[in-house]
Structures are given as C-alpha cells and as structure tokens.
C-alpha cells in the first residue's frame, strides 16, 4: 500500500505531480466558487432554470451554500488539508453536476437540432457561457484529478494531509 511507504522514499516526481493536481483542482474550485459567490443571484437563476427542485428553500440553500462550500474545499486542497476526503467531496460535486449539464445538453441537442458540440449555455459553473462539450471534457479531467488525489495520499507540502491522522 502507498500509505505504508515512508515519505522520504516516495519519488519527488510523484509528490510534485500530486502537488500540481492539488493546486489545479483547488485553484479551479476557488476561482469558480468565487465567481458564483460574488453573483449568487445569477447562480440562483441558472439553478432555477435546471428545474432540479420545486422547493424554493432547497433551491436557495443550494445557491447560497454551494459556491462558498466550493471555495472552502478549494482552500483545503490548496493547503493540503484532508486531501482525500476533499477529493471525494469534489467527485461527489462534479459527477452529478456533469450529469445534469449533460442531460440538459442532450435535451437541447434533441429539441433544437443543434450539433451536440455546438451547444453552449451558461451551465452555472461560474465561467459564464461555455461550449458544453469543452465543459464536459474539463469536468472529466477534474474528476480524474480528484480520483488521483483520492487514491493517493500526498505526504509532502501538505499542512495536514489526513484530518484523522494515525498516531
């Protein structure tokens, strides 16, 4: 198991790649989270258009909390705190979000007879109007990075890689 390997014996390249992955995922989460947190109304409108729920308290709760939660997770990753747990949460956010976006894009593809990779709309990711093909690829890449961080514990350049560290 990787966990049993002492930090000094880990190749630097591997640790570096984990650091890059952490910074990339964390950075993306902070930037996109901030853009939504600064314009929560825009985010709320987009969520409303997805028609995920009829309950306005749930809708408001998602629109109010999700951007800040994303920033929080991004900061944890950047600081190297509870990396694997945060990576799992990142997957838990990215996979349903991608599924919803894909579902919406497929519906548009069918109803408007637009080529799939020509469909673009503001999906609520915080980057404004985007080409959905690109967005899904980007999300796939971020899910892969999250998977990498989930299955490997970084040892170096982390404040506290595991929240519940073994003594």
């Amino acid at each position: 198991m990787n966990d049993a390997i002492p930090p000094s014996s880990r190749p630097v390249f591997r640790e570096l790649s984990l650091l890059v992955a952490r910074c990339l995922l964390g950075g993306v989460m902070v930037v996109l989270g901030l853009s939504k947190a600064l314009h929560p109304v825009d985010f709320l409108k987009i969520l409303q258009q997805y028609g995920m729920t009829e309950n306005h308290v749930v809708l408001n709760g998602i629109a109010a909390a999700l951007p800040w939660f994303e920033i929080f997770c991004g900061l944890l990753l950047l600081g190297g705190i509870a990396v694997r747990g945060t990576a799992l949460l990142s997957i838990a956010m990215l996979v349903p979000f991608s599924a919803i976006v894909l579902h919406r894009a497929l519906a548009l593809h069918e109803s408007m007879a637009i080529p799939f990779c020509a469909i673009r709309f503001n999906c609520g990711c915080g980057a404004g109007e985007v080409i959905i093909c690109h967005k899904l690829l980007e999300n796939g890449f971020l899910i892969l990075i999250s998977g990498l961080l989930l299955t490997t514990t970084p040892r170096r350049w982390c404040l506290r890689p595991e929240m519940f560290q073994r003594e």
């Binding site: 198991m1 109304v41 709760g61 109010a64 694997r84 519940f164």
Partner: protein, 258 residues
C-alpha cells in the same frame, strides 16, 4: 504478505521449534485461509477514514458556507421565494442557448435575439399574472411624454447593479428585486405616485421585469399602472435610443434622441 500465525512454544516439537514456518506448510495454509486478509482490512479502514473525513468536511463546510452567505452583502435569503408562481422551465425557452455562429459575434448576449414568439409568450404570461406587456413604440412615446419629466411616468430598471451602471433608460430607477431593502425605499414612493410605471429588464425571455412588477404590485402599486416592456433594454439600445450610464441622472448619455 500474510502475517504468519505464531504457535505457542509449548506446542512446538523440539526438533522443529527453530525452523521458521513457511506458507507451504499445510498447517499454515489452513490457518492463513481462516484469517481475514490484513490488506483488505487496512483498505477497508482507510476508506472508512476517508468517508468519515469527507463527512466532517461536508458538515464544517456547510456551516461555514451558510455563515458566509449570511454575512455577505450579496447573500441570498433562504426562505424567500424568488420565483413566485414560476412553472418548471422547458428546454426550448432557455434564453442563453446559441449555436456558435451567433456566439462568434463581439460579445453579443444570446438573449439579444428577441423573437416575436418569445414576446408573445411573455405577453400571455403577463396577462395570466394580471400584468400588461408593452411594446417598444409605446414605451418610446411614454419616454417622450412631458409627464416623464414630472415623474408621473416612471421607468424602472429591474436588472442588477452592473448592468444598470452599464446603461439604462435615462432617468430610470433601479429596482433589483433580489435586494428589495436596498432599492424599495427610493423606488416605492415614486411608483406609488406615478400614473404609469414601465418596468424592464434585458428583454427576450428575461423574467426580472415580470417579477419586479409583481413585487411592486405586492407592495401596493396598482396593477393597472404597471407595464412590462417586453423588448427590454436590448430592443431599446438596438433601436439606437439614448442610454444613460452610471447612476441615475448621471448625465452620461449615450446614443441620440431623434
């Protein structure tokens, strides 16, 4: 590697007591099969720890996120229904959707494509809610009416700060309905004393003007005085009519007034 079971020393034969056990020994094989795989056990514990960690982060993060929303000046109210009477949106009504051909233009918002069907749809929806839609020509007449200068005709811009500052109908009041406490004190007295109130947003499928008009109706503005400009600011600016940038009565007028 499976940890080899240790036998009690008293049970070992003197001749074999020094001989290390190997996995090839039948006794060891039986014992090893009976034991749970230690690696699987460690992995299971490891995943449990990760799951616990993520649950803890989720709980802490959620509390912090709600606190941040609470202290943010742009924070949302959790209990308010921002879309009263809103039906589940259909796919074809999405205003942002464009093919790349239309999006290649210089930062043209997709919602700029105002179709007559969208306008008709909006008018029908407004009628259902007891509001009236109004077209560009009538709006321009109201703008040119001397009563506009006397504030007997009032224009209300239902968009957010950024868009309002970028350009609004000269003299229009801003009423971003998502932050009523900020705007109502200035807008409400004017609207209550006006004969006609024209509310607009971006146009097309933008619904902010509709909801802003409903909000004004709720706080006492008679519905027969409320008009929703279906074309919105997109049509207004597309016709080359004047726009005021910055705050209300800033004097920064763009465009011309034929």
């Amino acid at each position: 590697m499976a940890r080899l079971p240790t036998m009690p020393r008293c049970a070992q034969h003197p001749s074999t007591s020094e001989k290390p056990l190997s996995l090839g020994d039948p006794a060891v094989r039986v014992d090893a099969l009976a034991m749970p795989d230690p690696n699987a056990f460690t992995m299971s514990r490891s995943w449990k720890r990760i799951l616990l960690e993520s649950l803890a982060i989720a709980a802490i993060g959620l509390v912090l996120a709600l606190l941040a929303n609470g202290v943010s000046p742009r924070g949302l109210s959790l209990t308010r229904d921002y879309f009263p009477g809103k039906t589940k949106p259909t796919v074809v009504r999405r205003p942002e959707v464009t093919a790349p051909e239309t999006a290649k233009g210089p930062a043209t918002p997709a919602s700029a494509t105002i179709t007559s069907s969208a306008s008709e749809e909006l008018s029908a929806r407004l009628r259902e809610k007891g509001l009236q839609g109004i077209g560009g020509t009538e709006v321009r007449q109201l703008f040119d009416d001397p009563q506009y200068a006397q504030e007997l005709i009032v224009f209300v811009d239902a968009r957010d700060d950024h868009h309002y500052q970028e350009g609004h109908v000269p003299g229009a009041y801003q009423f971003d309905r998502y932050y009523p406490a900020k705007h109502l004190p200035a807008v409400l007295p004017v609207c209550l004393s006006a004969l006609k109130v024209v509310v607009y947003c971006t146009g097309g499928n933008c619904e902010d003007s509709e909801f802003a008009a409903l909000a004004l109706k709720e706080v006492g503005v008679p519905p027969e005085r409320l008009f929703v400009y279906t074309g919105g600011i997109t049509e207004w600016s597309a016709r080359g009519w004047p726009l005021e940038s910055g705050g209300r009565k800033s004097g920064l007028i763009q465009g011309f007034k034929p």
